[in-house]
Symmetry: C2
Subunit: 393 residues, 2 copies
């Protein structure tokens, strides 16, 4: 994080300098030029507890009528819920109105994966997964519980849930054609066993494991966050930990690598493309005629928020000129209220540069270096406005 | 399995030849010379269902008064129960009396690990884990549920089990000094998260992850079976799958290898040493004055039963001469009623020679080659009696 820290010092210096102060209150010259992407956990809240700086800075982000001064989109890797519920929760926490159109969850880009919408898909996660899948366009959805009911001999790790005296009949299910992992489920042993059964039988759960071709059925996963910060002192398991289990078990049993048709959520470019679409719609609603030139992505997780923003920035810089409406850059701002923290950073881990990203993303330390490091989300927002020569007051 | 199959053909030939028939009914000349080790799942039962050959052959293994003709010990990698319960279950299934002294579970050798008996140990598994630990000699036992209660912010994968409105107080627990994994637990996410927390805080759950030294606290695991056969057509998850998850997550988070202080259960030599002790006691009860010369280990799992028996055989052949009472050999007999089956074998897997043993056991294909392959447990017992020149009738 050396690079980031240097930049932060430079920013502090700049903030306190006359030049910085002079630019602080200038605005309108470049109106229509930037938008903000906010991560939620570790930036705005920790568990159920709002981070104080978040409420303060959101008060300044809206005008007297509650209208946002710039396009604001919330980009979270959470996924075991609906956009509407997340927007309501944020409105309550931040005390400003947040509309569902400003919120994207890790699974949101699946709307664009229309080639899977007619297939019979097995969904894994918790909460309203079936409803989420239907809202995204999937018309033929099977849940893990339906697999358990259709094939009652498969899920037997829990002694108390095993068939007792007699062997229950296998009712069966229509063949499964793809698997979608929305987020971390409950009873990982059940989901791991049944997903492996689906992959090793190629979706026909009555078949033998050895009949399945390789590569296996299409597998799509949302939210690869390994760890995230809630109220506990140390990071908690994210869906990325479940994916590590699934990958390891598939490899151990078959000797081959689990393959993903798509990995969705930060740090995937597909997620930032979708976020940019939402920013563009916000800008249109604000009546901005000029395209958004710069995105500022504020997050606490170097491997998700920073890596993702930097990867998207690299994408933007190499995007074809024909895509004139795309932003020119995406700047990453790391806050210290979540996974990454200056005082309580995990030195033994970070010194060893342990790769906490997903297996299928290359470990490029450069991509985990933020454009800026600041204390909290308020500093992050002030920094963005400063950089753009806008007033936040 | 080519070697095994050749041996089996030789055995079939031998069985049908005049020489074989001649030896079939000779006996007493080498009385006191052998004992039988039976695996349970896939050999005697599949799930709750007895394998028909098992009942038939056990009828022949006892005399009219119900006394066993040779020492018989049941060596299972199951562990989420007590010996007494397992013995009762077997008596019921096989319709002969089985005493607890004839049964060893994967955790049984932990009785001999007295250096850990005074420590504060965290135990993972399901069923009466606390009672099992106490019976084995552990005097200071903490369960996963006690960790959840002591530190209510740690286990939050399940949204419905998260603290709701207020943050519950941390009651704390005395420091944990070692971790014992008895068998596959329920809610793997809870056990994986809390065991990782214990290892990364060196047993002081209030500390930061980065304070823990490496190697971590002593970790002892029983039962490393990856897969086992129940009623379902395909193999089901064993505790070995849980261990793969734990190893993979520890490695992903820290970049370092999880280390086991001991791995107990088949195919560990420690397990066969303990089984041999039980065989010796059975022989004494039968009034045998001569030591048992040969053990026949009957199992369905090449990686557990066959690998283990062959590894023990290798150990016996290199054991110091002073251990005069040790058997001279341990022969492995593979049955086709469980994980390994001639018709439904997993050719794609076995052809690729995927290693289904534990990470810490070397993949030595020779050790997975059984001395004999037979159809079922009845053939296995008949083979052993034949080999020893004993009559089973």
């Amino acid at each position: 994080m050396q690079g980031g820290k240097c930049l932060k010092s430079a920013w502090k210096l700049f903030k306190s300098s006359g030049e910085g102060a002079a630019r602080h209150y200038s605005h309108t010259s470049t109106r229509g030029s930037f938008g903000l992407l906010f991560d939620i956990d570790g930036v705005l809240v920790r568990g159920q507890t709002p981070i104080p700086a978040a409420k303060r800075c959101f008060r300044k982000l809206v005008d007297r009528r509650g209208r946002y001064k710039v396009p604001v989109v919330f980009v979270t890797n959470a996924g075991n819920c609906m956009r509407q519920a997340k927007a309501e929760h944020l409105s309550h926490l931040l005390e400003v109105e947040v509309s569902p159109e400003q919120v994207m969850l890790s699974h949101s880009p699946l709307r664009m994966f229309t080639q899977f919408h007619q297939m019979c898909v097995l969904v894994s996660g918790q909460g309203p997964v079936q409803e989420v899948a239907r809202m995204l366009g999937f018309q033929n959805v099977v849940t893990i519980d339906q697999v358990r009911e259709g094939y009652p001999l498969l899920d037997i790790v829990d002694h108390d849930r095993r068939p007792k005296d007699s062997i229950p009949p296998t009712k069966g299910l229509r063949p499964i054609e793809a698997v979608i992992l929305f987020g971390e489920p409950i009873r990982w042993e059940t989901n791991l066993q049944l997903i492996l059964d689906v992959l090793l039988t190629h979706g026909n759960l009555g078949s033998n494991w050895n009949g399945a071709p390789y590569p296996h059925l299409p597998l799509l996963a949302c939210n690869m966050d390994l760890l995230w910060m809630a109220e506990a002192k140390n990071p908690r398991f994210g869906h990325g930990m479940f994916l590590v289990c699934l990958e390891s078990l598939y490899k151990k049993v078959t000797g081959q690598d689990l393959k993903y048709e798509a990995l969705i959520g930060k740090p995937s470019v597909v997620t930032y493309n979708y976020a940019e679409l939402l920013v563009r719609r916000q800008a249109e609603r604000l009546g901005w005629s000029l395209p958004v030139k710069t995105l500022y992505a504020i997050g606490d997780n170097p491997m998700a928020d920073i890596y993702g923003a930097n990867l998207y920035d690299r994408y933007l810089r190499t995007a074809p000129r024909s895509e004139a409406r795309l932003p020119e850059a995406c700047r990453s701002i790391l806050v210290c209220t979540g996974v990454y923290s200056k005082e309580e950073a995990l030195p033994s881990l970070s010194q060893q540069r342990v790769f906490h990203g997903h297996r299928d993303f290359r470990f490029e330390p450069d991509l985990t270096q933020p454009s800026y490091v600041v204390d909290d989300v308020q500093d992050a927002v002030e920094l963005a406005f400063e950089q753009e020569g806008w007033s936040l007051h």
